[in-house]
């Protein structure tokens, strides 16, 4: 990757204002790393109280298929829910995310954004099959920063292998849909000014170089998992990585022509709303599916996910109403996504009142983060991936320490004695 900058230079379409300069690359890679590490470190700092249960929260703890095979037997109810959750998470990307992003750009760019989302989904699927699952979720490498190679091309797979009490095939598919949506989210950072071939190349590389390792660290049994980081459904793995990478990439690519004073408004708020609604519904699969079972944990995850989304939507709407004089459709649904991203890491560990607090924080903080990134940092993170997903994912990871079970404020709305996971 030494000539990555010049390569990017060549592939970038002519729409950018600021050419990419090589020293910037090293700087931004540093930013990426430091942001990432800061998050994790912080998460770790404040988490000791929860260490004990956190490992159990991480649903891959018992995911090593070989060991599970003999004793466990298939539970049709849990399997039914995991199959459904997989369909829901795919639905988030196709067509949910595609419509959400497609509606936010200018009308002349809508087809290109849809194409990005769709092609990335296909590409990520193949990469997950080829190397991703193996590197991200199987042990066997003996290392704590990357998974093994035994499951390349899923060659290890037998049809009746189980992961816990559902088939391993379902687990591979469910996690695949996470690997699909994460690079899809980053699309929001570079819309309207990048070549299609560059999108494919970047997304493919990113999945292998960034997503798989981080996924292994947190869910695959890597060093963060060992230190007890809580990330129920992907606040770090999905949203923080996507947000940090989006920021880095947006800074590297430069700004769109006309940024920040002369941009075109979202061409189709109705399309944005439709996409956001699909993301909301699909997120039930994302968070409640991360319980890996149709059980009380899944039920609570769905409830808090929904409450956080609803609260963040209303709070965002009210802030916008106060600041601009009228509430808007694009605003309220952006609040929804902020609320959903923020509850994601916490959805296994907080109660209803905790969810309301998380949602309200998301509505305010992500709102101001949007302005901060674009106005203060001057980075054209076009569809606010960093401000909504990145900040949201990090915020949720931090809040869970205070709001979660046995955290400082107590698991609000949850009976302490009966809460066990």
């Amino acid at each position: 990757m030494p000539n990555f900058p010049s390569f990017l230079n060549r592939l970038t379409s002519q729409n950018t204002e600021k050419p990419i300069n090589s020293p910037m690359i090293s700087r931004t890679l540093l930013i990426l790393l430091s942001m990432g590490l800061a998050t994790f470190a912080y998460a770790q700092d404040t988490d000791p109280a929860t260490t004990g249960s956190a490992v159990a929260n991480i649903q891959v703890a018992d995911a090593a298929p070989e060991s599970a095979e003999e004793e466990a037997s298939l539970d049709s109810g849990n399997t039914a829910w995991m199959l459904t959750a997989t369909a829901l998470v795919l639905f988030m990307t196709l067509p949910g995310l595609a419509l959400f992003y497609g509606g936010l750009v200018q009308s002349k760019n809508v087809l290109s954004v849809l194409m990005h989302c769709f092609a990335i989904a296909c590409l990520a699927s193949i990469i997950w099959f080829a190397v991703g699952y193996s590197l991200a979720l199987t042990s066997g490498s003996g290392k704590d920063w990357i998974g093994g190679q035994d499951a390349f091309f899923l060659k290890h797979l037998s049809v009746d292998a189980l992961n816990g009490d559902h088939p391993e095939t379902v687990w591979i598919m469910f996690q695949m849909t996470f690997a699909i949506i994460t690079p899809g989210l980053i699309v929001g950072a570079f819309v309207e000014r990048i070549k299609f071939s560059a999108v494919l190349l970047f997304s493919g590389l990113w999945l292998v170089v960034v997503y798989c390792p981080v996924c292994y660290w947190v869910w695959g049994g890597g060093w963060l998992a060992e230190r007890g980081v809580i990330d129920f459904a992907g606040g770090i793995v999905v949203h923080a990585t996507a947000g940090a990478s989006a920021l880095t990439l947006a800074a590297m690519l430069g700004r769109r022509h006309g940024f920040p004073r002369n941009l075109k408004p979202p061409h189709n708020p109705g399309m944005v709303m439709t996409g956001a609604a699909m993301l909301w519904v699909g997120w039930f699969g994302f968070n409640a599916g991360s319980a890996a079972a149709a059980d009380t944990s899944a039920g609570m995850a769905m409830l808090v996910t929904h409450l956080s989304a609803a609260t963040a939507s209303l709070v965002w709407m009210l802030v916008e109403w106060r600041n601009t004089g009228k509430p808007g459709l694009v605003g309220i649904v952006t609040g929804t996504i902020a609320g959903l991203a923020t509850i994601t890491p916490a959805s296994g560990s907080v109660g209803p009142l905790g969810a309301i607090i998380i949602g309200a924080s998301a509505g305010i903080i992500c709102y101001y983060a949007c302005g901060f990134v674009k106005e203060k940092l001057g980075i054209d993170d076009s569809l606010d991936v960093a401000a909504v997903h990145g900040i949201g994912g990090i915020l949720g990871t931090l809040l869970v320490s205070y709001l979660g079970w046995k955290g400082e404020l107590g698991g609000l709305g949850i009976n302490h004695d009966t809460w066990q996971d």
């Binding site: 002369n262 941009l263 694009v330 709102y367 101001y368 106005e375």
Partner: protein
Amino acid sequence: MKLVKAVIKPFKLEEVKDALSEIGVEGMTVSEVKGFGRQKGHTEIYRGSEYTVDFLPKVKIEIGVADDLADKVVDAIVGAAQTGKIGDGKIFILPMEECVRIRTGEKGDEAL
């Protein structure tokens, strides 16, 4: 004959149409346009960023009329489309040499 071209605010279309019908204008052709003028566009705020909307939606009406009717048409439009606020629009009157009704081939004032 004249071709009267009026650019008005979209929500005034119905009233203008009714006013024209009243003075006996039986035909007109309407299209959606964007206008740029003294009424500067507004800014919209999405997610904390400002977006400038330069071009405002307007409606353009084209009416072919006989010479003697032109002034009445202009008055009718002004009467119906005026709000007194900036951005009410303009009327342009162009000379027209000929008019043909496609259905019958009729020409001149007959064809209007």
